[in-house]
Symmetry: D3
Subunit: 131 residues, 6 copies
Amino acid sequence: MTSKHLIEYAQASADVRAVYDDIKRVRQVEDVNNFWKCLAAHPPTLRRTWESLKEVMQPGALDPLTKELIYVAVSVTNNCPYCIASHLAAARRAGMTDAMFGELQAVVGMANETNRLATGYRVPLDAALQD
Amino acid sequence: MTSKHLIEYAQASADVRAVYDDIKRVRQVEDVNNFWKCLAAHPPTLRRTWESLKEVMQPGALDPLTKELIYVAVSVTNNCPYCIASHLAAARRAGMTDAMFGELQAVVGMANETNRLATGYRVPLDAALQD
Amino acid sequence: MTSKHLIEYAQASADVRAVYDDIKRVRQVEDVNNFWKCLAAHPPTLRRTWESLKEVMQPGALDPLTKELIYVAVSVTNNCPYCIASHLAAARRAGMTDAMFGELQAVVGMANETNRLATGYRVPLDAALQD
Amino acid sequence: MTSKHLIEYAQASADVRAVYDDIKRVRQVEDVNNFWKCLAAHPPTLRRTWESLKEVMQPGALDPLTKELIYVAVSVTNNCPYCIASHLAAARRAGMTDAMFGELQAVVGMANETNRLATGYRVPLDAALQD
Amino acid sequence: MTSKHLIEYAQASADVRAVYDDIKRVRQVEDVNNFWKCLAAHPPTLRRTWESLKEVMQPGALDPLTKELIYVAVSVTNNCPYCIASHLAAARRAGMTDAMFGELQAVVGMANETNRLATGYRVPLDAALQD
Amino acid sequence: MTSKHLIEYAQASADVRAVYDDIKRVRQVEDVNNFWKCLAAHPPTLRRTWESLKEVMQPGALDPLTKELIYVAVSVTNNCPYCIASHLAAARRAGMTDAMFGELQAVVGMANETNRLATGYRVPLDAALQD
């Protein structure tokens, strides 16, 4: 249940292996990340999380790079070091340049600042912003 | 200093009016949002915040729509109702469709879920993710 | 247990009244805030919270105004509207001016921005900062 | 873009060096913290963040120590280890004693507790607190 | 996409109605909550969220009441008013008494306080706690 | 005041030793956790925190295991590594199995996801949920 307990393919049950195989197939990787090897401690969560992530992150009205940038923005705001590292890597694979990351950080920082200014000043919603 | 104290153009000092004028010029709007009318309670914060926001949100390696989507993602994660409303409006002006917002919400929700799964399972960083 | 269930002095039990009386005595107020009237739903929490707050907020190495400014800063960062309103009122009673609030907001906003920049850039701790 | 990529003065561009020089001049230090060496990956963010921080943290209606205490309170609430370490060091340089830090921590802890009590009990705003 | 746009059964598409019908069947309710009527703006998110929630909240190693108490604890910590209201109602249906809620709030408040104390004091992990 | 400064029993003052002794007595442990050895830097916070924790975590309308599960849920949501480790250990001592932890994580993850979906869609409170 802890970082010590990574479930490798060799020791994995059939249902866990099936998820690992699908991750490797979809992502074209040789092995799955530790995130999945930890989730494997609870197979239903492993399967459900992978199926949801696969559906949510597929190309749609938003392209894969935009989705990864949003993922990084949330992970930075939540201060999740593992999530930042893994999704920065995914964002780079999807085409994020250093310049894009610099601007992403600038927007995330500015949003966190103005969120607090709006909250502290208890800004009333403009009539034009109501729906 | 509170939602009751919105500083309108008519009562504003010269330095506050200068910022309001620049916001109206850059955004091509007839009046500024309540956010700015609250910040005007502290002119240095009004000026600094506008100058920073203008610089950060200008087109660059990331287009304006992508920046607004990131802004909304942070505002939703921080649970800032005013920020969500104002940046959703900005995102729509920048071209966000209902389908894009649906996918944005799905990614933000998924990121918040997996952030907690990674944190709770204390997932160790993969060697491949270290730099 | 909800906003509808405020326990007024008249309906309060003896132990709840004892806390209300102490709050009114210490704060020199005619009635207690709704916060306490809601906590009264669970008398042990009402008593423990008041005893702790009374001890923590008393003058010490930090003066009452500084403590209230810190309280507001945390409440804004946590986005707790009730806490912001009640502690802004307390901060004003303790001497916070509009200029002080303007600077408090600026620091809170800046701290929230740089916290995310440090997190997103995964800044390694300087040797000089380690202890 | 990562902790591996600290931009030292020797390798820095002219605009980055100009910011480093100003930080060293204002803070009277021999070298800048890693925070700045990471931000240097995006020069506009480095410059804007330093100019804003210099303006926000200068003495005003609030003294430098009070501003640093507020900065630490936000950094602890946001759980930003680097920010806590760097601003605790700055707070000590500004005169924070162990007794002051002990009380700061007590207030931050108490504020985080009561923020959740107010939120969970959905405390309605007192008429006297409305403005 | 906003609070104004609740998709009622009458206007819902076949796939949305299928989810609404399943929610009404599983929960034995006459109509679904606004949460679902908002999610219906993006049918894939409506379906995926309901399927996941149905799986996660079903009785297992933890009973339904314990799961709802955990849900409320997270919602209070995240300061999500709608989530607090809806899951408090679910927790009461599952058997939560006023005394249980009082203790839940006390634990949530205490956990939020000690989380910050541990973070601010940068407590090193005990050897006995490592795995 | 930092992770380097753990106050051991041998160097502790009489009032600190009194708290350590009570912790060891109540928890039937040979030594106290580093959390307490850090809090000892500010004896009033050490005493108050222990007295409150002892009262809040004692068996009541909620059993000790349920209270520890709630504590872990909050600590994961707040991303406090030390708190997660120490309260996971306490939860295991109280009887938490791997299956229970798997379901706890699933609920915490789901709650964090739906909290953001409700916030982003700005779901209006159902009449039936109002009180």
